[in-house]
Symmetry: C2
Subunit: 449 residues, 2 copies
């Protein structure tokens, strides 16, 4: 199946019938005061399907959720949509009744331009919390973006740039595969950087794969596909893909008020329409589609970790041998979110003592004398053991240091108590993260969400 | 009651019949390799009561607990002890059967010198995890420390210095009060700095006041008193004092494998012996004793936060209006441990958006539209509101910034849902914390626990 999955150039405009654009309308710079000259960074993106599309969405499970989430969640649940408007620079979170009105109006402005029902436009925002959206700028931006909509890869890249906050680079991917002889494509863009430990669900209720305590900058992801698929099947596919990608990453252990993943499927590939609970043929197609969607989401999720605020390392934590998935998840997150473990990663220090320390206080059941800890190159099965059954191995400290000094490595923890597993993709904690997030109170625009 | 409580000079040798000392025996520098010249920092402390004493102890609730904890916990539960041996530089954690033998031998060396039953000597360790204790050095240290035991305040300070790891200063306190005309004293020393969010209990089982996920460097605290008090009353008093002090602090959200608080009461003040479940007179005395012990523990706990690794601010988080204590505790800890909130404190940024974000993902029940957030000077009831019922107030950003720029301030969060409260004492997250904890793999002795 995998060898028929091909990565292709571009992102959200790679599937048929999708247009995108990204413009600067001065949302990010507002409040920077006189003479600020931070450069005109794009801050408003538009995504449009030429025809009505099936939609699925997953949203933050934080109890403090932003106005755009409150507006988009019920619209995504209805299953049909055609456009998405996104701004960066302002999260429209903790903005009360005015924020809700602004989020609805943001959708309505686009709906009027494209002569769509307002309900078929979804919105998302990211940036500073607690500041009202500058609606004149938003309106100007949507109008400008509408005029620039195009299928060019550059247009998609402009959209990817417009949703960035502290990201250092746009994040894009597109893949292509066949279903019954028809070429089907999936494209995606996303942003992350800080306030990253998403725990998203389709309803706002916390799923098993979500962190108990989230981590965050906001993460946003917008996916497009020309696959023909019904709403129920699309929702199930996206839920599975997100559970194994965005809900498995952590940068700083903070869950955002705005985390959003939206997938539009417009059917223009004209494959036999995939439906949930169908016969063998549809099932096989769904499996191929799922593999492709999983790949797209995981690659985008990893881009977020690699570009985490101040991140210098990418560590994949493989937790196995737990008594339950909840235990495996809790143990992996305790390690991946420990400030002491994360700073030791920054220092290239294979400090398994701190790893055991984090396991010790995690909510997971563990037995110190049974724990194995090993390092490997990314994806390699050649493990370098630091600890076996709770005891230091003879592995030389220098060899462990050499592994921990790599930009990317895998950490393998086996609790040896059961069969449950969990993976977490994590970054380190660096001085640059602190420097960035302490902000500059004399420049409110520098203060992140 | 409080006006009869007097702070006096000195610490653990202020109560009658207690001797202390602290020496350098080269535990800290081991492994630094050739030519290291980091200075001879004391690394072994001894505390001795001239007569057998009642003892109470609280220990880490981490599932990975160090050998000295495993040795001292059952001895403390028995209720009688006379001496404590403590080393820094090596945690004797994750050291297996050898570690247990070493911890027992550490106590036995002291017991032989003082001709005490081995069971009456307790031990504690702090420092690098996973490295065997250098027993020849430990033995030499105990012998030297035994020869230097004294009641001088300087001797107590040497002990306070010897338990330090990344602490920048020794932490000491002593108080005096009267019980039925007899002068009673309590003294204490402690250490902290990083890996600090203790969740201690007398049994290793997690109490209600403990964090679900701990925070840490190890914290150690040794208390002495000449009060006459029975074992049951002493244990209850220490449990209450710790629940409201050491179990309410956080530096970095990591709970240690070695957290220990031990209190020796030798009765030499000759006050009427206080007993649990006794008549009115004993109850009144117990209340006075409790107030004094609470004060000693809270002051020491605050010293740990103020001297947290890289800390530049001391923030008291007052969480009120929660539906239950568990909710209040979870909400306060979510805020106090959020990397984003802590970096904003570092930056002097009154970022209530991040505070709401942390409340949103906490395990506590909250309703965004009901939350009040305010700042005040330490202990002041003059509140400067940033948020009322989930809405920004008219308070000028500059006024909030001025408050958040103070070295110490109080943060007041009212969930307005119930009557439960919790307080957490927290530090900020700074570049210095990261710089310190990333360590230097070329100098293993620089790598913290």
């Amino acid at each position: 199946m995998k060898d028929t999955l091909k990565t292709i150039p571009g992102s959200i405009t790679a599937p048929q019938g999708f247009l995108a654009s990204g413009v600067f309308c001065d949302i990010k710079r507002l409040g920077t005061g006189k003479g600020s000259n931070k450069g005109k960074k794009r801050d408003l993106a538009l995504i449009l399907s030429e025809v009505p599309a099936t939609v699925a969405g997953l949203f933050t499970t934080s109890q403090v959720c932003a106005a755009p989430v409150k507006v988009s969640l019920p619209r995504a649940r209805k299953g049909r949509a055609q456009a998405i408007v996104v701004n960066s620079g302002n999260a429209n979170a903790c903005t009360g009744a005015q924020g809700l009105r602004d989020a609805r109006e943001m959708a309505a402005i686009a709906a009027r331009i494209f002569r769509l029902p307002a309900e078929s436009v979804l919105v998302a925002s990211t940036g500073r919390i607690g500041v009202p959206l500058p609606m004149p700028n938003v309106k100007r931006g949507i109008q400008a973006a509408a005029g620039l909509l195009n299928t060019f890869p550059e247009s998609a890249q402009h959209a990817a740039e417009a949703i960035m906050t502290s990201d250092t680079r746009p994040k894009e991917i597109a893949v292509e595969f066949e279903l019954d002889g028809r070429v089907v494509r999936i494209g995606g863009i996303c942003k992350g950087a800080g306030m990253i430990q998403p725990g998203m669900s389709p309803t706002g209720a916390r799923p098993a794969s979500a962190p108990r305590q989230g981590l965050h900058a906001t993460m946003l992801c917008f996916l497009t596909t020309d696959a023909a698929i019904d709403s129920k099947a699309l929702k199930a596919a996206l839920a599975e893909a997100v559970a194994n990608s965005f809900n498995r990453i952590t940068v700083d252990g903070d869950m955002s008020t705005n985390d959003t993943v939206i997938l539009l499927a417009n059917g223009l590939a004209e494959n036999p329409r995939m439906v949930a609970n169908a016969g063998k043929g549809s099932k096989a197609h769904l499996a191929i589609f799922q593999t492709a969607l999983n790949h797209v989401c995981l690659e985008l999720a990893k881009m977020i970790v690699r570009d985490g605020e101040g991140a210098t390392r990418f560590v994949t934590v493989h937790l196995s041998g737990a008594k339950s998935f909840a235990d495996a998840d809790a143990a992996a997150r305790a390690v991946a979110n420990s400030s002491l473990v994360k700073t030791s990663w920054f220092g290239g220090d294979p400090n398994w003592g701190r790893i055991l320390g984090a396991l010790g206080y995690s909510a997971a059941e563990i037995v110190e004398e049974k724990i194995d800890v090993a390092y490997s190159a990314p994806g390699s099965s050649k493990l370098l053991y630091a600890l076996k059954r709770g005891q230091p191995t003879g592995t030389f400290f220098d060899s462990l240091c050499k592994m921990a000094a790599q930009k990317e490595f895998d950490l393998h923890i086996n609790l040896n108590l059961g069969k449950a597993k969990a993976v977490i993709y994590a970054s380190d904690l660096t001085e640059e993260y602190v420097e960035f997030n302490k902000g500059d109170v004399s420049d409110p625009a520098s203060l992140g969400g």
